[in-house]
């Protein structure tokens, strides 16, 4: 499903070279629920950008669903993001002044799908927001916004759901709801990768990958994930 081979990412900040990722090898199978952990500066955000096809590695290979996406053009990457990846961000990143249902529709717009309204409604109902379709982002609570974001991430039926600190801006109760939702999606067979620095969140995953200074320092499977108490 996801296969990183010897991936290195080097940023150039003026004259300084920053090695954000150093020879990372990582394989994630279909249906896994993986938490990627590490302190800030450990390279986890860079890893997520590469996994999400928002950025390409400086060297190494990245196979997503058997396709090497590490050398694709901007346009091809956009197509891959559209079809195979769903993003959930820490700050929700809904498009402002745009209703919940239209936000959920957006990926369909860019994928060129004509019938959009119904799938978007269904997706919102699945995250428990069937009655908030016409609401604007600023009329929704943080937890609700994040659920809209999850509905939007799922609308194109992506192979991979990438969540970057999905609970970072939420209170405990909302966090629990969101994690529960992600867990349920994983139970339904969806591959989910969560980037986090919260131990609570990582306990909830089946596998925890820890990073430091651009390298993977540990990769442990957890026998069973702890249930999140709501």
């Amino acid at each position: 499903m996801i296969q990183l081979e010897n991936v290195t990412k080097v940023y150039r900040m003026g004259k300084v070279e920053v090695r954000a990722l150093e020879s990372v090898d990582l394989t994630i199978d279909d249906g896994e629920l993986v938490a990627i952990m590490g302190p800030s500066g450990s390279g986890k955000t860079t890893l997520m950008n590469i996994l999400g096809c928002l950025d390409v590695p400086t060297s190494g290979r990245y196979l997503l669903d058997g396709t090497d996406v590490s050398r694709l053009s901007d346009n091809r990457l956009a197509k891959i993001r559209s079809r195979k990846i769903g993003f959930v961000f820490q700050s929700f990143n809904l498009v402002a002044r745009t209703s919940a249902v239209r936000n959920v529709e957006l990926p369909l717009v860019y994928a060129g799908v004509r019938a959009r309204r119904n799938p978007a409604r269904v997706a919102l109902e699945q995250v428990g927001l069937g009655d908030r379709q016409r609401h604007l982002p600023n009329e929704l609570s943080g937890g609700q916004q994040q659920r809209v974001a999850i509905a939007r991430a799922l609308i194109n039926d992506p192979a991979l759901l990438l969540a970057d600190e999905p609970t970072g801006n939420l209170d405990t109760a909302s966090s629990a709801e969101i994690l529960k939702l992600l867990g349920a999606l994983n139970d339904a067979g969806r591959t989910v990768v969560i980037i986090t620095h919260e131990e609570d969140v990582s306990r909830f995953a089946r596998r925890v990958v820890r990073m430091r200074d651009g390298r993977i320092v540990s990769d442990q499977a957890q026998r069973s994930r702890t249930e999140v108490s709501a």
Binding site: F87, N93, L94, Y110, G112, A153
Partner: protein, 408 residues
């Protein structure tokens, strides 16, 4: 991404900043409206002047040359025989009619006032070839010319000075010129100075009672058969008169030939250049408007950097982002252009309806909208949207999603 969706996104973006969008559009509105209005003004002047002059465009005026040519033969006057020769169909078939006239200054006395008028003697067609109309009474007719009737037609200034502002009161009244009494048969409409200071009477009358002068005339108006045969008729006039006056060298010519046609062409040419020039000046405000659109689109892209990042993350291609911003600036400039067209056409139509009520001089300036100016200025506003939106849109499209998402 389909067009409808792109339009919806663009309109939402513009609505979110109503005042800003309206002000940006105002630049385009003013530019487009002023281009249309100025071209309409120029066109209006040209149309109304041409309408006035068109009936006179086939006229050729012949006057004696002033002064002697040194060493040449003494200049000959224009005389009745010249008039007859010009009217001779066997000598020219491009000349339709010949109207002689003789004129001079004379004191015209009414009951209690006197007016120093320009007294003109001519035929009954003088009114027509001078493109004048009657305010009261009638111009003298052919019978009165043949019978050397002692009748006069007064210019409006003469009539109002001698008999008061109502032209009707002058009709039938006597006036004395050169100690002779004449009866007023008509008053002409005002055409402005100096035409209003004219007193017209039959040519034989003016010769017998006022100026004398035998068979001399000091102006011959030649009417060409058609406006486009004016040059041919002009050549005929020169040929016939040169022959009669025994002139072999053009430098020794003792008469001058002028036609309105060539002056009208010159006038039209000058007016066209002037109209284009003023329109070009107005178009400068369109350039300013374009800079406004460019500026606002740059702001819009910067403001929405994060949104661009989100859209890219969920699958928007460069092209989709480019389209979104291009359509936004096209809508901005196009809508501005459309409103500008409405304002420009509206003001022109309003001006055309209001101008005549300020008098004949203003009626000349009644604007007349031209279709090309409307089409062109609207097309320019669309082009502004495309060009001024192109650079910001391209910048937005090229943003890297990770940079755009990180933007606060």
């Amino acid at each position: 991404m389909n067009l409808k969706e792109a339009l919806r996104i663009a309109l939402r973006g513009l609505r979110a900043n109503r005042l800003r969008s309206a002000l940006t559009m105002l630049g385009i509105i003013i530019g487009v409206a002023s281009v249309i209005l100025l071209v309409a003004l120029g066109n209006g002047v040209q149309t109304s002047v041409n309408e006035k002059i068109q009936p006179l465009a086939n006229l050729i005026t012949v006057v004696p040359s002033v002064g002697n040519v040194p060493g040449g033969a003494p200049p000959k006057d224009l005389i009745d025989a010249d008039v007859l020769a010009l009217a001779d169909k066997s000598l020219s078939h491009d000349i339709a009619a010949v109207i002689p006239a003789t004129s001079g200054k004379a004191l015209v006395e009414g009951d209690s006032f006197r007016y120093r008028a320009n007294v003109v003697g001519s035929t009954e067609r003088w009114l027509e070839v001078n493109n004048q109309d009657m305010a009261a009474g009638a111009f003298f007719d052919e019978a009165q010319v043949r019978s050397t009737s002692r009748v006069v037609v007064l210019g409006s200034a003469v009539a109002s000075y001698l008999f008061g502002d109502d032209p009707g009161t002058a009709i039938g009244k006597p006036v004395r010129i050169n100690r002779q009494t004449f009866r007023v048969v008509g008053v002409m409409q005002s055409v402005g100075e100096p035409g209003d200071g004219v007193v017209a009477m039959p040519l034989p009358t003016v010769r017998r009672y006022i100026f004398g002068g035998g068979d001399k005339v000091n102006q011959i108006i030649v009417q060409a058969a058609e406006a486009n045969t004016v040059p041919a008729a002009e050549n005929d006039v020169i040929r016939i008169l040169s022959e009669r006056h025994h002139i072999k060298d053009t430098a020794n010519r003792d008469f001058e030939v002028q036609s309105l046609r060539s002056r009208l062409d010159t006038f039209n040419q000058i007016l066209r250049i002037l109209t284009l020039f003023t329109a070009a000046v107005a178009a400068i405000s369109l350039v300013v408007g374009a800079i406004g659109v460019l500026n606002i689109m740059l702001v819009s892209v910067t403001e929405r950097t994060r949104e661009i990042g989100i859209r890219k993350a969920i699958g928007a291609t460069r092209r989709a982002i480019l389209e979104q911003f291009l359509i936004e600036s096209l809508v901005l400039a196009g809508l501005g252009g459309l409103i500008g067209v409405l304002v420009g056409v509206g003001l022109s139509v309003l001006g055309a309806n209001v101008a005549p009520s300020f008098g004949p001089t203003f009626a000349t300036f009644a604007p007349a909208v031209t279709i090309p100016s409307v089409v062109l200025s609207f097309a320019i506003s669309l082009a502004i949207g495309l060009v001024a939106g192109g650079y910001p849109a391209n910048r937005a499209a090229r943003l890297r999603p990770i940079d755009a998402l990180r933007y606060q």
